[in-house]
Assembly symmetry: C2
Homo-oligomer: 220 residues x 2
């Protein structure tokens, strides 16, 4: 990157704030990827950026598995297909037909695959902030994922979160410690298209709500 | 905001990417706030921005409670103090002394308080992506929180995540539906200072690790 980092507290101007909003508006959960490889080093750089995320007690519980191996990818794809077939059975009629038409993962096309876990057993952070809420470790890992997602989109790279998987099976397939918690399996690559509208909305599955409906004022 | 939104796919230049990195580097979990109120309308705008986050199946399970009521704030503060005293008892010797010196929340000074929940029971999204991982609803809410956190920092506003609370008690105190899951209680306001270094690192509680230690390559 050509621009030197700021060493005194940055002040963000209106142009940056407008571009940040554009980034948020145009970030998508991508399932349709071009097959072009990511440029060398980009995935490692995105993971490094992800680790700038907040973590409870500075516990940094994120664990990343870069899945390049074709045989492993095949096993994950088979797991997805099995779970997705099960999911389809839970719908009926027109909804089932619509579900069957959705493209819910880009596992075949995406050039980069990343499995992400949370290690709740880490001693880093000495348990601070996790005593009443052990799930804070998982949330810290989600914060890293979201950070990576935005940094990726800024580089024109799309990310898709695959959750139609059985966490226990993913842990078994990838051979990671059984005490790790599976947070998500991610496809990364250059998207086939860009949109301000989520793919599930374009497909008529769900629409975006007025977020004011989800804000309440607390009174004693 | 003076700058019009982009209506065709944005391409982010090196300056924006460097500023985005600055934003990530300078975002902090803030516990030391000035008492100045947030400008009118800012919190609602930040919540609206948070709702640009990805959510599983477009389920938008985020639920926000703006806590302005002094009596409610007092009850939350009392809960924090009780949980923090319990946490202190779990440490001993020099570590306990160091824990006791940490400032872990800005509940007294922060001008804005926000409690955030996940509604796993929402029918939005028709359960898509949540069948094998119901926790995806919670993760979607964390995505909204992280989105808000970055948008806030871009405006010079700090956010602090308070997790030293008993989720069941927060639900009781705020009178929200018992099936909602408590994700976090957030303080917002203008920070007393800015730093590239997490407060827990400055206090000698924990240090940042080389994130490459947390990256593995998967092999079959």
């Amino acid at each position: 990157m050509a621009i030197a980092p700021t060493t005194s507290p940055p002040c963000f101007d209106d142009l940056f704030k407008a571009q940040l909003r554009d980034l948020l508006v145009w970030r998508r959960d991508v399932r349709r990827f071009k097959r072009d490889a990511l440029p060398e080093g980009v995935l490692d750089r995105l993971i490094e950026t992800a680790c700038l995320a907040p973590s409870v007690g500075l516990s940094q519980p994120w664990r990343f598995i870069v899945v390049d191996d074709a045989a492993l990818r095949g096993k994950i794809l088979a797991e997805f297909e099995r779970c997705n077939a099960d999911a389809l059975k839970s719908y009926s009629g027109e909804v089932a037909a619509r579900y069957a038409r959705l493209k819910l993962a880009g596992l075949v096309e995406a050039p980069a695959h990343l499995a992400v876990f949370a290690d709740r057993s880490t001693i880093a952070g000495r348990g601070l902030g996790r005593r009443t809420m052990p799930e804070m470790a998982d949330y810290s890992v989600v914060a890293a994922v979201v950070t990576m997602w935005l940094a990726a989109r800024a580089e024109g790279i799309g990310m898709g979160w695959v959750s139609i998987l059985d966490p226990a099976r993913v842990i078994e397939v990838l051979g990671v410690p059984s005490e790790w918690r599976f947070i998500g399996y991610f496809c990364l690559g250059f998207p086939e298209d860009d949109s301000q509208v989520p793919e599930l909305e374009r497909a008529g599955w769900e629409h975006r709500q007025d977020c004011r409906e989800h804000v309440l004022r607390g009174h004693d």
